[in-house]
Subunit: 558 residues, 2 copies
């Protein structure tokens, strides 16, 4: 055994750690690795909560974000450490006063522990920000909130007791509402580094605006700059809805929980009432397939002697092919139109298109993949596509190379689609799911789930094929253009000659501009009629006449 | 507010989740994303615990690993799901019976929550494996253990109660020891996929053997194959020791904890007794620098009116430059010799070397970076270096591209070191620290900490420079060789002629082999004396004589 320097034995000392202390000690796991990431992550978590409190409940989001520097300290090592006050306010449904303290002061306390597509998932993010704040600035979080139906506004200032993982309120108050305000306003003070976090935070807010053009966002930066993203549309995606578990996603633990808590008296009833996508007929034929009596009392399966039956029930459920697919009508994709609006607003491309795929499922979780492509125009040419990743409407900015979306995009042979790099190509990928398989609690990259990978590939390929059509027509147009040029560039010349020749020499006078213009027009129509130009869809499509006209314009410049 | 399909309002339902339920629901966060990863991760967690229980306590590790298929089920979907029984046994210090149930049945209960270099860090891994087992196979974990000083062996079978995060023992027993056995044997049954996890698991065990050549490892695979890694040396690195926190790493939360629990009566005493690298003189000059009275009672700083002083204390501590660096003599690097042994055994290269850098620190955590390079020989040529990553002696196999080590290795311009790809190049990187900044609880990749990145770069460059010396000498040798060839290949011919010519024609007789050999030898020495061949270090170095001799050998074969 190990001995310390005085030759005594080292004992292993065991102890329990609260989950709050765990995430305080390992703050990098939740995305709070350093003052740069921490400032970014705090903004993210608060903005995501704000959006969940609004669009998930059919409220058009109105979000105010501010970062103010409140303190700076230059140490003996010459480095300057800065503290910032971050405030995010929304017009959402508000947090009821009875749960306010826990919602902000207890790690793993949340309203997101149901089967529903929300940005938040872990019940962790905002608490990790509160913890980081109290560790680096020592100030409590301040929460002000009012629910839609309440007549009061409530305020609480609190710390998280890391030993016990519970809120410790240091100040609280309430007052009667004057107007109709409802929503939540959270203020956290923390150490940060705005100068280095700036570009990521602006990018984050910009990309949020791309995907939620129905939101109004106002951001006040520490340097006084104000960034305003007005509402571009009042069309919102349908809100997500809460679902029951799907039989394909169930494991033994969950099944035991359901068997314990169900009020159904038979297995057949239980399947119908506790699961989605299971009707009475399916329930009966499934139980027959599994060789289990439909009349069995659910509690009986919890008995030790029935363990083999319980295992068979779950094994059969996971693999039974005749259950309907998981409900995807409860999901809330962005939609092709909003993706196109967003990409156009952000990049002003020459061509844009998007696709929302049909729903699929992995391990019992429904998901929908959407893809958008923007090409040309003001898009900068790069050596590889610019990839915009989104999950449940959250922009993902870090750990790109570990994301399955990156894997898919970089494995695509773009030459097939007539794209040669460097190329002005933007690819947007969005996955909406009741369970996004993030790689870490910091929610920055998505795992290689085969079903998701396949869908992402199909989605990109589908839009890329349309891009190919556009690009090859564009190419054909260019070839046609070249042919036209030889003819078209003489049109003005020919027109002038015709004007002159068309008059008898005695009646000669200098050709008038209208005459010339008229003949030119006739010639353009004549040439255009005789030349085949492929029709281009979208912004890039031009009629043969327009092409001829533009060639004349260009050659005239010469 | 959101309404459900019958037009009623949806309420947000808040609830608390235990940390056990959290990691059961989000099993991919701990590396249990699917049956392939889960089998690999289970082996990892158990082997790492086994090594922590042995070499950390100066016991030469003897580790037995077995995976057996115990069940398979082909579902309605045609897929076959398999369950495996995984057993890992070590000869370590054992787990005391009083903490056995919690150590395997309570998430975030551990002996690793101290400042010490261990493989385990989070108190999570083995419990995540237990959870995965009970979710997918429904069987309890079985633990058999005996401490060094105990006269009994204890056995417990238990589940984790996910609602309460506590162990639920279903069977237990104890018996008197016959021999001197001490250690721990853990058995978990889980769903897995050996066929696809096989190569990663074998690679993991192989790489573990590379870095711990003092361990004996026996692995029985499900297909009956036995992999045996014998002990190559009984030299072990010095064991890590537990340290106190360093002042540069402290945050406000930790400081409050220390102020609450210290038995010191003054701040000065507290600094000396509760922190490492702080002597009395440093403590005093630091407090003077911070403008805080050294006689202050630590408890007083917890009062609300002293919050500004407390913040100043921590700010000053983080940035004060005159504290000694964090203690690194408590760390346990592998050492240059063991790295060379390991790389030779695994790759049989033409050239190998390694370096252990001096200790450095980030955010108050000491760390040591080590690097090794193997080149040529049986190493396969590749388009980029084969990278072996280790952290606290754990091989890291997944998420390579997100690891700071990959970032460093791929950013190095290898041409500078005379390496042109494809090249037979292996780079090993090891970081030993009391706190490895992993990106996720699955412990697969290391964050971009600037201090670590810089050290990794320096370590690789240091060994790469030696490789460069070797390679350029090798190149010069080859050039010299070419020069020698023209001379050397005539030596046998010349020797024979000389033997003949050296005798008077009347005394002529056929030259005897000894005569010929003698003259050849003289000529070799003569040629070798007149030719400059760069001296090569290590295995590749050959004397001019050897070179001449080998040329003769080769030309003779012609």
């Amino acid at each position: 055994m190990a001995k310390d320097r005085r030759g005594q034995r080292q004992e292993e000392r065991y102890r329990e750690m609260s989950v709050a202390e765990f995430f305080a000690k390992n703050k990098e796991l939740a995305g709070f690795a350093n003052p740069v990431r921490a400032l970014y992550q705090t903004i993210r978590e608060l903005v995501e909560n704000a959006l969940d409190a609004t669009d998930t409940h059919e409220i058009l989001p109105q979000i105010y974000v501010s970062i103010r520097e409140v303190e700076s300290y230059t140490g003996d090592d010459g480095k300057t450490r800065r503290r910032y006050q971050v405030t995010v306010e929304d017009n959402g449904i508000g947090v009821p006063p009875t749960v306010m303290a826990d919602a902000f002061g207890r790690v793993l306390f949340s309203s997101k522990y149901v089967i529903r597509q929300t940005r938040g998932m872990y019940g962790l993010g905002v608490k990790a920000a509160v913890l980081y704040g109290q560790m680096t600035a020592g100030k409590p979080v301040e929460v002000i909130s009012s629910t839609v139906s309440s007549e009061y506004v409530y305020m609480k200032k609190l710390y998280i007791d890391t030993k016990r993982n519970e809120p410790r309120i240091v100040e609280e108050g309430q007052w009667r509402k004057r107007g109709q305000w409802h929503g939540t306003r959270v203020t956290i003070v923390l150490e940060g580094e705005w100068s280095r976090a700036r570009s990521k935070i602006l990018e984050y807010i910009k990309r949020t605006a791309v995907i939620a053009p129905y939101a109004e966002i106002l951001f006040e930066a520490p340097d006084g700059a104000i960034y305003y993203f007005p509402r571009e549309t009042i069309k919102m995606p349908p809100p997500p809805k809460e679902a029951k578990p799907h039989p394909h996603g169930v494991d033994l633990e969950q099944m035991k929980m359901i068997l314990q808590t169900t009020s159904s008296k038979t297995l057949e009833d239980m399947l119908v009432s506790e699961f989605q996508s299971v009707g009475r007929i399916t329930a009966r034929s499934f139980l027959e397939h599994a060789g289990i009596d439909p009349g069995t009392n659910p509690r009986d399966l919890l008995k030790k002697e029935n363990q083999a039956t319980l295992t068979r029930l779950v094994d059969s459920m996971k693999s039974y092919t005749k259950f309907r697919a998981p409900r995807s009508d409860y999901l809330s994709p962005i939609g092709e139109e909003l993706i196109r609006i967003g990409l156009r607003r952000m990049f002003r491309p020459e061509w844009v298109d998007a696709v929302t795929r049909s729903p699929r499922a992995y391990q019992g979780h429904p998901f929908i993949v959407e893809a958008g492509i923007a090409y040309g125009g003001e898009v900068q040419a790069r050596e590889e596509p610019l990839l915009l990743r989104y999950a449940n409407k959250i922009p993902l900015l870090y750990e790109e190379r570990e994301d399955v979306a990156y894997k898919v995009v970089s494995s695509i042979n773009w030459r097939i689609y007539n794209v040669d790099f460097p190329a002005p190509l933007v690819v947007l990928i969005h996955i909406a799911s009741t369970k996004v398989p993030y790689k870490g609690v910091g929610k920055e990259s998505i795992s290689d789930v085969p079903e998701i990978e396949a869908e992402m590939r199909h989605a990109i390929q589908e839009v890329a094929r349309r891009l190919k059509t556009y690009l090859s027509r564009k190419k054909r147009e260019e070839e046609a253009r070249k042919k036209i040029i030889t003819i078209a560039k003489y049109i003005p010349e020919v027109a002038r000659s015709l004007v002159i020749l068309s008059k008898p020499p005695d009646k000669w006078s200098p050709p008038r501009p209208e005459e010339e213009r008229m003949i030119t027009e006739s010639l353009i129509r004549l040439v255009a009629r005789n030349i085949e130009v492929p029709e281009l869809p979208g912004d890039g499509g031009r009629s043969p006449e327009e092409i001829v006209r533009s060639v004349i314009e260009e050659t005239r410049v010469e």
